[in-house]
């Protein structure tokens, strides 16, 4: 079977790949958004602190005073364990705090990152104009904070982003798997439905399928109907061939027989008899060739039915009785009930008919053919010439005829057909000598 990839696998890979890409995008978006929020939050806190300090700047008796609210710095301690630095200045004159803390001169409500005492600080600056001793002076408050707390928060955010991305990926992958499987299910359903069919079922497949599969189903059904037509044509051809071969043969034989009854002279009679014999051989050959073709055809698609070998044998014996009676041949039938096997009814009937027909043909006048069935084993013994020991192995070969059949008409396919039918059913055909004196025995055994 030529396989090129798997739809399921391809679907899965693509969907999972898409999920991975989306998860990564989700991660990046979440991360950057959350980082933004975290940085803003820190800035907001710093601004609150700086603003509170700025509010507390006052002018008393021409002097600038700052009464830093306790909360202005303790609030920063509540948010994180970062180190805090501040500077309050008026113009270029430092008022209090860490005098060497950097700032952005002239700016109000700005935030930036700076270096101080070897660390990165997040800084904010706010300023306000104050009237000091008659002049307007700019008071600035700078508050800075190390970014340890922010770093922790960002790490937490990263972890959360990875977690969300991972969860999304897992869920999306599961979803992808479920989706892929359910998409592929109709394919499997159709395959199963077709596989379940019996060998002779050539009806169109009518299972409902998704619209994308419609062209495939149309092609499949077209193929099935072509096959059906082809098989029908073959069957018709076989029937036609049979008819065309047999009808003229029948005419010749009938006329020969009529003439035989009207003719007395021995040499004429002999000639007519030979003609009749030739016709019989041809028609037998044709019949068995057709049978053989049918067996070969059917063994590829065995129809399985529950069959009773005893019942089949009984039927065939009954049908052959008139013919056997012509030669005063009697059937001794012994069928024990029980057994039962699954097989192709037509093939089995064909095989049994061939074997009993053989027995009748090779039995001399006024003899007995024993037909016994035990379980799934059929044994037919005649009192004819029997199988020569040398021939036993080769008799089931195609067209082999025994060395002692003499003038009896036969094309040699009878045993072959029965043998092939037995093999097709995992059974066996065995030839042996009749234990009671002369004659041949054929045993058809089938597994249950």
């Amino acid at each position: 079977m030529n396989k090129r990839g798997s739809i399921l696998r391809r679907l899965m890979l693509q969907l999972v790949g898409a999920a991975a890409v989306l998860a990564a995008i989700l991660f990046v978006l979440f991360q950057s958004f959350a980082r933004q929020l975290a940085i803003e939050a820190q800035d907001n806190t710093l601004f609150a602190s700086a603003s509170a300090i700025l509010e507390s700047v006052s002018v008393q008796q021409g002097e600038v005073n700052v009464d830093i609210p306790y909360a202005a710095l303790s609030m920063l301690g509540n948010v994180s364990d970062d180190r805090v630095f501040y500077r309050i200045g008026m113009g270029a004159v430092p008022l209090t705090g860490y005098d060497d803390l950097p700032g952005k001169p002239g700016a109000d409500a700005v935030s930036w990152t700076d270096q101080y005492r070897g660390d990165d600080l997040r800084m904010v600056q706010v300023s306000r104009a104050l009237s000091v001793a008659g002049t307007l002076r700019d008071v600035t408050v700078v508050v800075g904070q190390t970014q340890g707390g922010l770093a922790q928060k960002l790490a937490q955010i990263s972890r959360m982003a990875i977690f969300i991305g991972a969860i999304y990926f897992v869920v999306a992958s599961l979803f992808a798997y479920w989706t892929a499987r359910s998409t592929v299910r109709p394919l499997n359903a159709v395959a199963e439905a077709v596989a379940r069919r019996g060998p002779l079922d050539l009806r169109p497949v009518t299972k409902p399928v998704p619209s994308e599969m419609a062209p495939l189903m149309v092609a499949l059904n077209a193929f099935i109907s072509r096959l059906d037509r082809s098989l029908t044509r073959s069957e018709d051809f076989i029937v036609e061939a049979a008819h065309r071969v047999r009808t003229p043969l029948a005419t010749v034989r009938a006329q020969a027989e009529v003439t035989l009854r009207r003719v007395d002279r021995q040499e004429n009679r002999n000639a007519l008899k030979q003609m009749i014999r030739a016709v019989d051989e041809s028609s037998r050959a044709a019949g068995q060739l057709l049978d053989h073709a049918m067996v070969a055809f059917r063994t590829d698609h065995l129809d399985q039915q529950a069959l009773d070998l005893g019942a089949i044998a009984a039927e065939v014996v009954e049908r052959q009785t008139p013919v056997a009676a012509l030669k005063d041949i009697t059937f001794d039938v012994d069928i024990t009930a029980g057994g039962g096997f699954n097989g192709d009814a037509i093939l089995i009937q064909n095989a049994v008919t061939n074997l009993i027909d053989n027995a009748v043909k090779y039995s001399p006048q006024e003899t007995t053919i024993t037909v016994s069935v035990k379980g799934n084993s059929l044994k037919i013994c005649d009192q004819g010439p029997g199988f020569p020991a040398a021939d036993i192995d080769t008799l089931t070969d195609r067209f082999a005829r025994g060395t002692n059949v003499g003038n009896t008409v036969g094309s040699g396919l009878g045993l072959t057909i029965a043998h092939e039918v037995a093999l097709a059913h995992n059974g066996a055909l065995t030839l042996s000598q009749n234990p009671k004196g002369t004659g041949a025995c054929v045993t058809l055994s089938l597994p249950s």
Partner: protein, 328 residues
């Protein structure tokens, strides 16, 4: 402990210091592999057993223990870059500033994990002792009088009996006592009674002290009847005065000073310093507390808030107001 000889009270001038020290001692170990230098505001006598225990567990480590005032400690480290491994101080605001200004090393261990969140700032400042600010009252002076349990009680009492308590109240001079300044400033932001009480004390001619010991002595002798915002642990340590004084932890709230240890950036052997700090912390936090902590006790919070009252303008402002209130 008998494995080695160690010299306590060996007066060895190890170095010349540019700041004022109160005492120094070297606890020497045999086969010394490391020397721990500790600068502390706590008396050596108090710390000696702790050091001894430490050395029994770490026999090859010597300990050089220098005692100085908390202000001097801060100056030594931040301004004079004196090389010490550990700074131990009762001035939690100064310790916090040291850590904030980058003079501390971070230390994380199983022992530091024992410290509650309010007692650990940035894994740099660890508390190992919490001591309350209390009223210390003279039993004799309060004969027949109900002792005040809250600040409001105290205010009512002083208002009711001004003559009895005139000149009989003592408290820290916050201009010179770091601990006094800490207690006073925390008081001022915690309760609305502080300024009223301060004015009241000022009007009654309160005596100002530099140190807890003197204040407690004077209470025991009856020279003063009430010592306000005094470190309760020192009072409690004076078991000899147990009959004479009563220590009252104010029930409206009792501020708790956190005595802290900081490993300094200048430590030459930070691991050894860590060992000592761990030992200290395990001793403090290893076992569940001996007695339940009353719900009105409030540990003063560690954090940048403590920097506020260290601000020069803020301090100037506060001292001006306080002086105004207390000196009438």
């Amino acid at each position: 402990m008998r494995h080695f000889i160690f010299a306590i009270l060996m007066w060895m001038p190890v170095a010349v210091f540019a700041f004022e020290i109160e005492s120094e001692a070297l606890f020497e170990a045999e086969n010394e592999t490391a020397r721990l230098r500790i600068i502390s505001s706590t008396d050596e006598a108090v710390f000696a057993p702790i050091i001894a225990q430490f050395q029994s567990l770490n026999p090859s480590i010597s300990v050089y223990y220098v005692v100085a005032s908390s202000a001097e400690i801060s100056k030594a480290i931040s301004q004079e870059n004196e090389a010490f491994d550990i700074a131990i101080s009762s001035a939690m605001d100064l310790q916090t500033k040291l850590a904030n200004d980058g003079f501390a090393l971070q230390h994380i261990s199983a022992a530091t994990a024992l410290v509650p969140a309010w007692g650990n700032w940035r894994n740099s400042v660890f508390t190992f002792s919490q001591e309350p600010a209390t009223f210390v009252l003279s039993n004799a002076a309060f004969e027949g009088l109900e002792m005040p349990r809250t600040r409001q009680d105290l205010i009512s009492l002083l208002r009711a009996q001004p003559d009895r308590f005139d000149g009989k109240i003592g408290t820290y001079d916050v201009r010179t006592s770091g601990l006094g300044y800490l207690f006073a400033t925390q008081d001022s932001r915690t309760s609305e009674t502080f300024w009223r009480l301060t004015e009241l004390m000022g009007s009654l001619g309160a005596k100002l002290y530099c140190c807890s010991s003197q204040m407690i002595e004077d209470v025991s002798t009856g020279k003063i009847a009430i010592a306000y915002n005094v470190l309760g642990s020192y009072a409690a340590a004076r078991t000899d005065l147990a009959d004479a004084v009563t220590i009252v932890a104010p029930q409206d709230y009792t501020a708790m000073m956190l005595r802290t240890a900081v490993i300094l950036k200048t430590a030459t052997a930070p691991d050894v310093a860590g060992l000592f700090v761990d030992h200290l912390l395990r001793g403090a936090w290893g076992a569940p507390p001996a007695k339940e902590v009353a719900e009105y006790t409030r540990p003063i919070p560690l954090g940048p808030g403590l920097l506020v009252f260290l601000d020069r303008l803020k301090r100037r402002q506060f001292l001006a107001e306080w002086t105004n209130a207390i000196e009438q």
